[in-house]
Symmetry: C3
Subunit: 474 residues, 3 copies
Amino acid sequence: MATQPIHLPEDRYLDPDPATRKVAWHLYQRVRDLPLLCTHGHVDPRMFADPDYSFGTPTQLILIPDHYIFRMLYSQGVPLEKLAIPRRDGGPTETDHRAAWQVFADHYHLFRGTPTGAWLAHEFREVFGVQQRLSAETAQAVYDQIAERLATPEFRPRRLFERFNIEVMSTTDPAHSRLEHHQSLQRSGWKGRIIPTFRPDGVVNLDAPGWRRNLDLLSEASGTAVDSYPALIRALENRRAYFRSLGAVATDHAAVTPYTEELTPQEADSVFGRALRGEATPEDATRFTGHMLMESARMSIEDGLVMQLHPGSFRNHNPDLFAKFGPDMGADIPVATEYTRNLRPLLSKYGNDTRLTLILFMLDESALARELAPLAGHYPALRLGPPWWFHDSINGMTRFRQRVSETAGLYNTVGFNDDTRAFPSIPARHDLARRVDANWLAGLVARGIVALDEAEEMMHACAYDLAEAAYKLG
Amino acid sequence: MATQPIHLPEDRYLDPDPATRKVAWHLYQRVRDLPLLCTHGHVDPRMFADPDYSFGTPTQLILIPDHYIFRMLYSQGVPLEKLAIPRRDGGPTETDHRAAWQVFADHYHLFRGTPTGAWLAHEFREVFGVQQRLSAETAQAVYDQIAERLATPEFRPRRLFERFNIEVMSTTDPAHSRLEHHQSLQRSGWKGRIIPTFRPDGVVNLDAPGWRRNLDLLSEASGTAVDSYPALIRALENRRAYFRSLGAVATDHAAVTPYTEELTPQEADSVFGRALRGEATPEDATRFTGHMLMESARMSIEDGLVMQLHPGSFRNHNPDLFAKFGPDMGADIPVATEYTRNLRPLLSKYGNDTRLTLILFMLDESALARELAPLAGHYPALRLGPPWWFHDSINGMTRFRQRVSETAGLYNTVGFNDDTRAFPSIPARHDLARRVDANWLAGLVARGIVALDEAEEMMHACAYDLAEAAYKLG
Amino acid sequence: MATQPIHLPEDRYLDPDPATRKVAWHLYQRVRDLPLLCTHGHVDPRMFADPDYSFGTPTQLILIPDHYIFRMLYSQGVPLEKLAIPRRDGGPTETDHRAAWQVFADHYHLFRGTPTGAWLAHEFREVFGVQQRLSAETAQAVYDQIAERLATPEFRPRRLFERFNIEVMSTTDPAHSRLEHHQSLQRSGWKGRIIPTFRPDGVVNLDAPGWRRNLDLLSEASGTAVDSYPALIRALENRRAYFRSLGAVATDHAAVTPYTEELTPQEADSVFGRALRGEATPEDATRFTGHMLMESARMSIEDGLVMQLHPGSFRNHNPDLFAKFGPDMGADIPVATEYTRNLRPLLSKYGNDTRLTLILFMLDESALARELAPLAGHYPALRLGPPWWFHDSINGMTRFRQRVSETAGLYNTVGFNDDTRAFPSIPARHDLARRVDANWLAGLVARGIVALDEAEEMMHACAYDLAEAAYKLG
């Protein structure tokens, strides 16, 4: 096939109906240049703390850290070793980054119609100035162009951060983190606002990989020997205060289910004691996680940190792959998730408290119209996070709006999260989300459901106001 | 913001594609003036029995009884006390109805894109003649206009009933009801057809709040001391006959799950005995409810009452709110609902009997294409009720048609239910449903799936014929 | 009503938006005449083995074998006896095929907006040359026209097979089948490629109806007395080799759930022993089926047969109907289906093996975006089958693409299956699927998601390449 230009029409992702598209374009134009609020993500803060940080090769920057990309090739039989993915078991892997890039390019058609395909097209052309579509033929030329750009000062992380018009960017950090990069950033005098997020899963989920070691790290960081449940609570409170001192506005929690249950302090202490002795049962782990979600809500009411909950992922589904490559390799698979009954203990105790903001995420869309929208349309403390992970896509975001908005309204949602490790994909992700929201709102206008002035306000809310308010960034 | 007119375009809710919209408009025009069959609802019959009934203030008419409205404000942190919602625990609440209305108006943007917003726009403009959109600025002027209308004789309930072109309206009444308002209506000579619906949940669900007292009321009403299972059956049969004598055509049943199981008379009697002694277990309650659903089907086959089943709501999810304000406060949250296995005992015994009409409702859309459409597309006794509660919306009704019609066809559905307590919202609800159905059918025409003459017949069926046939109103 | 022509516009099922429709039409034109790969179906091979085979009456050909049709009439109260459906209990049934056809025609409006309605319209007009829409009035005339065509040599099965442009057609055959029709076909010199599919459910599902007899038939066919678990494995391997010798490329497996578990050979043998003695428990059956799915995957890796898994149907839900008419009467109802945890044992052991192709089907659409797309977007051995049974419809196929493609991409799917017993409906089914895929792809083009050249390749993949590759037909 002849070389093709990157396909990225100016009015992409908008409804083909001319009347709807016109309104969508109008709405999108009003927000396309608003600053980005990156309220939830996984970018490494080190790249900003170190003024000389270099992204490495195109393969290092784009392919190796992005499990959205390499899992798709893996699903079609491409071994991860061929993609230069490092093995944690020390086994051999491709070291020629051009060769790995070629394999990626050879399979680029797999991304047709996927969000990764859309993000890459935007990133290649708008961030790196590449014009040709990636393919077997263009692989090395595209590699050269990106490598050349990466060698220039304009492509240092801080310069891109400014060019991307990021107003604030949250990282995600374990409870024991010393946040040394956030500290250096604060000291550096650079204006970029990069703030930590407190994620205590590694110590409050008793079955977390490396739990024991995480606890030691927490003890060290907090200066509290975490040898009992009260000590754990003290250490967590200590760390939350430290995170807040470096600008944190939120916590983040993952669990297989959103099960909540309040244990008595005695019960909590005896479960924690069993865990310390290596005797905790799976039921102990479930109950303790459920209890610690309630404790986190209590702490949030006291210190004002917004609480985020991401349930429903069965992590590391593929044991052989996990043994060879570790976590975050594209082998986390969602499961059906129940919210109504699981969250009742927490919501009964804290759901009516307007000092709490609990943002719920989901990987099970069947819960959206059934459970999540009715819950968020009732409890003052609840908000719904944007469609997460697999659902962070044109259809996924459209379904989210269609299933949530009629019951919960727009104003019980919190704007967009890019949730990414792939720093140069951030503009692509926000731009796509703004287009999809513009398109949804244009559909409401074109069908006479809301007036244009209302849609304009809703558009601004989607792109900026809702995130600013929910995450208390104002 | 400047005052805006109410946004209610003539061709609202129709597809923006011009060809589709044209067909949709054509279909809608054919049914827009058909009389309304209000086959399932919760309007208080007293307002029609009393010729001098007055609706009270705009706040009393529109805000206080409508949990769709006040739960949305509550979800954004507005205390119900500020909305003049009465507390059952005797706590203080706003008594100035104008002040409560102002709070409602201040938050009116929350209803953008919601069915409540669409219904209110219609109700304000088409029923009350208000022209300006409700807002902080227009709140008191709108209040004045509505209050003025309510003071006129044209706004007495019977006059509105006639103006709304309601052919029949079903109320929902507990098994023990004396139906005194229905009786006075019959005696009054007024032509409006308002009929009761027999809802026995309060006595057949052993865990219903106030079960014991309900039983006493049933004993009194039926003249049968309900001190055993056979007496319960006799009392229910007695009341069904009484309801039928006042025009009832249907029964209504709610349960957390549609679980059915046939107990032997001995088992039923001993479970009922335990309940009378206050010793029933949760399992007893589940089994007894499941058994009584089967008994209700048996009675329906004998007396011809259409049976409606509304499962899947976890009632009173918020205990503090329940303690303060009681039930129906917007805190009923759906749960995932299984139909295939749960209904098998009932359907095995009665599903092939064409004398039975069992209308199933749902709050779990994932069951629509998976379970409900295949069940309704097979069993002669089954029909599917319209999308209920949270799903009674533009997207909800559209998804219902898209998920049900290909497997069950149109003719295993039963038209629209307004299911409302808010009497003046009835025209808005039927009008919206007719527009959504017109739009769905126009999509079938525009894509060449059905011919126009077929769509015209289907349109009439959606707006009138299906409800008339399913509820035996002809 | 006056007689109407069959409604079958040339550009049917395409989006009404003119720009989208134009692209859809272009894409459809590129594949409309490609040969059909009928990779999964239930057509009786006897009709091709016997050169003199006649289809019988229109009622015998179209109505009696098609539970999609007669279940819809049954759901509206038409007894199956009136439709000439044979009773297995020997009870009386209509014998006048014209009378049965009249009843079918009287209720033809029930199929408005259903896939059956679309297929019948195509079949009547394009296969049989009928012009008038079936109705009470046209019933006998249409019957005459079809009967007349069926009497001509052009309507012998082999001639239709050629006219339909079928390149390969898979049948579905029990493990014990002698495949005598496939053998005669091979010997006959006729060029049509009709190949068997190995379906061992009757012997590996211990609770299959007639299990004991199926086992005897397997013993006979394989020449191995299946009196132990090792003998069962030997017999199955023997039959798989035999099926492969007659062209088989695939196996097929049904189960209520996709539960998998590896038993030790000792456990497997003792469960099988209990089954032989009539002592197997329901749990034994579940575990054995789960184990045999793993064994089938192991055999597939060894012999190259593609493995298909169809879970999630509660068979024979209506016991009275089953007693009178037997299985496949429209009374199989789907249940919610869990894949993530159930398939983990199988995928942990074989999911990374590129020699295995496991094609998963579903009747529970809520699993598509949640579980199936993430699984298929990761494991090299997995592919997703097309929407099955109730979901093999315009909306069902559209939802499938919208829910699967963004996460799994197009290339982890396997094209279309007609999955039918109704041979003359095959062109209608493939044509409809090609139109729906063209429409989906046109939507991607019209919204700027993929370029036209990409859509053209994807279109060819949907219509031909994916099925050819997945089923190893090249």
